[in-house]
Every structure is written in structure tokens, then in C-alpha cells.
Amino acid sequence: MWFLPVLIRNLLKGPSTEAFPFGEAMTPKKMRARIAFDPESCALCRVCARICPAGAIQFEKRPDGLEFNLWHNSCVFCGLCTLYCESEGLHATGDWHLSHPQSEKYDLVEKATVKFQKCSKCGKQKMPAPLPLMAKLYPGLSADEIERLRAMCPQCRKAETAPQDGGTQ
């Protein structure tokens, strides 16, 4: 079989490569690229730092909370952190434009401080209880009720939600 017809057909079809950087390159919806962090949805369980195979995620102590650091240059885009983050604080975005000058290599960090909170009932310092996690823990409760429980520490929350008269709730 002759290759010439295939060659001519390919020639007439024009280039099949993408015109990037002068044109758009294909970015599928499910693409695992730069990881985004939402401090509002972080429960400070730190499972992401434990699970990250590249050691790209670290937590550092600050006076008022813990600082989340994700080094994009260490990240291998495996998406394990997004898989195991129960409170949905980590998401893979489709943004793969990570090229940068050498001088900025230490700035390519996802950084945010997650603040400790005060329990609305006993006033002790407590870890935050983000909404997505609480909605999973207390399905069927109203939004107001969840907000109220969210502001408490685990001990007060337990006391609050325990069955009052030995019956089941």
C-alpha cells in the first residue's frame, strides 16, 4: 500500500498541532492542573499534608491559626489532596499556565492562614468547622441549626446534639 495518498491528504488537511501560544490550546473540563485552596472550607485536619506524595503541602503555626502552603512547583498534579479533602477545601482547576521566570520560583505558592475560632458556648479556642463538612456530618438539619453548631467546639456540639432523655435523636 502506498503512503503517498495519506501524505497528500494530511498535507491538504493542514497542521493538526495547536497554535499555542498564539491560539487556544485544548483544556478539558476534568483537567487536573493548578490546585486552588479555599480557607473558608478548611477544617485543619491536615490530611492533605499527610497524603501529598510530593510533600508540596505544609502547615505552619501562626499565632492566630495555621498557615496552609502549597508549593505549585513541587505539586505533581495527582489530585490526591482533592480526593481526600472531606471538607472540599481543595479543588483542581483547569489552569495549567504555570510557566514563570526563575526569579519568581519561590512565589508560586498557594498560601492562606486558617484562623482558630472561639467556641460560641464555652469560649475555648477551637478548630474551624467548615460548612461542607458539617452538612455531611449533620444531614437533614436546617441551615440555621448547622450554623449554630458550627460556631461551637466539638465538646459543646456533642453535648448539644446528644439525646436528652436517653432516646435516639
Partner: protein, 360 residues
């Protein structure tokens, strides 16, 4: 005639992977061969003992790029065997789909490289362009062109809804016609046949003696495929033909890969048809007790064996794998003896060597 020793490698013998050959030649004919390995050793077997079981799914996936799904797949099977986890049936189908998509892409890559090594670069480009259909599929379904991240302990990390199934089937349909055309080209094109027929011959008896596996063994007439001989996941429920050819030359090995790519399309289509509804992971956190197990799978290059020993902690005590290229490069001794110097790269490329897997 006097003999010479010429160095081939360690860089860019066939692929961009390091392997060093000391080739003894008589005139233009190869009479002896000395293989030196170890240029791509990264100490991954040590590393896996320092990482927890979840991290190791990612680490094993990055041992090699072309068979990147076979490694975490076998690793997860070994872990699940120790923990006695039975995965849902839908997971088994989805794992087959991921593995077969990788097989198509891997085989097409080697077939393209073979065209490049005989100097047929326009065919190389053409096949790579066809392969791009599979690359786009992987990127759209899994989120990455090479490292699918399809497996987790007790399940898979992706799901195919009606839209996903439709997309996958459409992509496979798009692949069929060009693949059939390429197969006809490789089967009948004079330029290609003259460079590959009767080159690097590995007789059946030698393939058995040296314990060769995968497409290399099947091209020498050895009917051995783990998917058929020791079925794992749902391969026993799927209908596919194990491809064999009698000649054992470079051409046969190329044809086996093209035929297997076509078979893989059939397998994925059956999976799409038969896949039951259900969960994509087990619904509890896996607990891995102390124990040891072995898992086997058919990677694109042949039989891949994982041995895992755990001690009840979250880190494996020992993880060892034997990759198909380890067996197959022994076959080079036979294939290259009597070959011409100009065919060395072609013959080396025809066993589809994966140096990063083998030396890790």
C-alpha cells in the same frame, strides 16, 4: 575478518532512555552483545517503603509513563488481596477501560517509533497524530495525558456517566478507520516490509527458554497473555483474541501491537455495553493488616508482577515488582546476533524496552 567492539548508547538508542550496549561486530554483522543497565536507577523500591499506601499509588504511577496505569492497578490489586477487599463490579470494568485505553496509546507509540527507526518519518508523524485521539481521550476523561490517576484502594477515582460513555465510544469510532488504514500500511508497504521482515528474529524455542513475555513473545508464536491465562478483574467475562504470529521478527512484533490495539477497542466497547451501575469505591476507609500478596497483570509490554508485604502499619514493608522489559531485554542477545549494525536501534526499539520501569 577482524572483530571490533562498538559502543551503542547509553543515550538515545531507540527511545530517549538510557541503555548501554557493547556490540561486537564482524564487518557489519553483530556477533556478540554485552548489555549494561542501571543508568536510570532512582531508588523507587526504597522510596515506596518510606511513603504511606496512598502516596505509593501516585509514586508507582510515576515509575514509567507508558504503562503508568498498570503499576498502580497491580499495586492496588495486591493491597486489596491482603486486606480481603472485594471491589464492586463497576470498578472492575472501569479499571479495564483505563488499562485498555493506556494499552492502545502505548502500542501506537511503539508502532510509531518503529516507523521512525526505519527512517519512515512521515508515517511516524501520521501514527502519532492518530495516537493523539487517545491522548485527548485520556485528558478529557481522567484529567491528564499520561498519569491517569484512575486507581485508589478499593475503587477507581473516575466514573463514566452517559455523557462520558458517549464521548469515549465516539473517540473510539474516530480511531477505528485511521487505525485500520495504518494496519494495512504496515502490512503491505514495501519500504516498511524491506526494513523489518526477517530482521531481529527470535525463534519460538528461544522465546520460551528466555521466558519472554508480552507482545514480544506473542510475535514469536508463544500464546501467553495474563488476561487469558490468569484472568484478573473481569477479563474472563470479556471476549477478545490473544494475537500471535509465527515469525518473531520486527515486523511481527509491530503487527502484534497494532492488532492488540484493535482488540483493545473491542474490549472497551464490551465494557461500555456490559458495565453495571453501582458504586465506584468501597464505602469505608481501607485497613491493611500485616500480610503478603502477589498481583499479576498484563501491562502493554507483558506480564507485570507485584509482590507486596505489609506489617500492619500504613507503609509497605517491601514492595517489589518484576516488569516485562526485564525478561524481554534478554531476548536482544538472540535477536541482535547476526543483525546488521544499522538495525540495532530498530531491533532494540522492537522489544518496546521500558528502562525506567526496569531500573526504577
Amino acid at each position: 575478518m577482524s572483530t571490533y567492539k562498538i559502543p551503542v548508547g547509553p543515550l538515545h538508542v531507540a527511545l530517549e532512555e538510557p541503555m548501554f550496549f557493547k556490540v561486537e561486530v564482524e564487518g557489519e554483522t553483530v556477533v556478540g552483545l554485552d548489555i549494561t543497565a542501571g543508568h536510570a536507577h532512582r531508588g523507587i523500591e526504597y522510596l515506596v517503603a518510606k511513603r504511606n499506601i496512598h502516596q505509593n499509588i501516585v509514586l508507582t504511577e510515576r515509575i514509567c509513563s507508558l504503562c503508568s496505569n498498570s503499576h498502580p492497578f497491580s499495586y492496588c490489586m495486591a493491597l486489596e488481596r491482603i486486606a480481603g477487599i472485594v471491589v464492586p463490579e463497576r470498578v472492575e470494568y472501569l479499571r479495564v477501560v483505563a488499562d485498555e485505553i493506556k494499552r492502545i496509546a502505548s502500542h501506537l507509540f511503539n508502532v510509531a517509533i518503529t516507523a521512525h527507526l526505519v527512517g519512515f518519518d512521515s508515517l511516524f508523524m501520521h501514527v502519532m497524530e492518530i495516537r493523539e485521539i487517545m491522548q485527548d481521550t485520556k485528558e478529557s476523561i481522567f484529567g491528564n495525558r499520561m498519569d491517569l490517576g484512575a486507581n485508589c484502594i478499593g475503587g477507581v477515582r473516575y466514573d463514566l456517566d452517559a455523557e462520558g460513555r458517549g464521548y469515549l465510544l465516539a473517540q473510539l469510532d474516530k480511531l477505528k478507520a485511521p487505525l485500520a488504514e495504518v494496519r494495512a500500511l504496515y502490512e503491505t508497504n514495501g519500504s516498511f516490509l524491506r526494513r523489518t521482515k526477517g530482521v531481529g528474529v527470535l525463534p519460538r524455542a528461544e522465546a520460551i527458554r528466555l521466558g519472554l513475555v508480552g507482545p514480544v513473545a506473542r510475535a514469536s508464536g508463544v500464546d501467553y497473555d495474563v488476561r487469558r491465562k490468569a484472568p484478573y478483574v473481569v477479563y474472563d467475562k470479556l471476549s477478545f483474541d490473544v494475537q500471535t504470529l509465527p515469525d518473531g521478527d520486527v515486523w511481527s512484533r509491530t503487527m502484534i501491537r497494532l492488532r492488540e490495539a484493535i482488540e483493545s477497542i473491542r474490549i472497551i466497547e464490551q465494557c461500555m455495553r456490559d458495565m453495571p451501575e453501582g458504586p465506584t469505591t468501597i464505602d469505608k476507609t481501607p485497613e491493611i493488616p500485616a500480610g503478603e500478596s502477589i498481583a499479576k497483570s498484563e501491562a502493554p509490554r507483558g506480564e507485570l508482577i507485584y509482590y507486596l508485604r505489609t506489617d500492619g502499619s500504613d507503609k509497605p514493608e517491601r514492595l517489589k515488582w518484576r516488569v516485562p522489559s526485564y525478561n524481554n531485554w534478554k531476548g536482544l542477545q538472540v535477536m541482535l546476533t547476526g543483525a546488521k549494525v544499522a538495525d540495532i536501534a530498530l531491533v532494540v526499539g522492537s522489544i518496546d524496552p521500558c528502562i525506567s520501569c526496569t531500573e526504577r
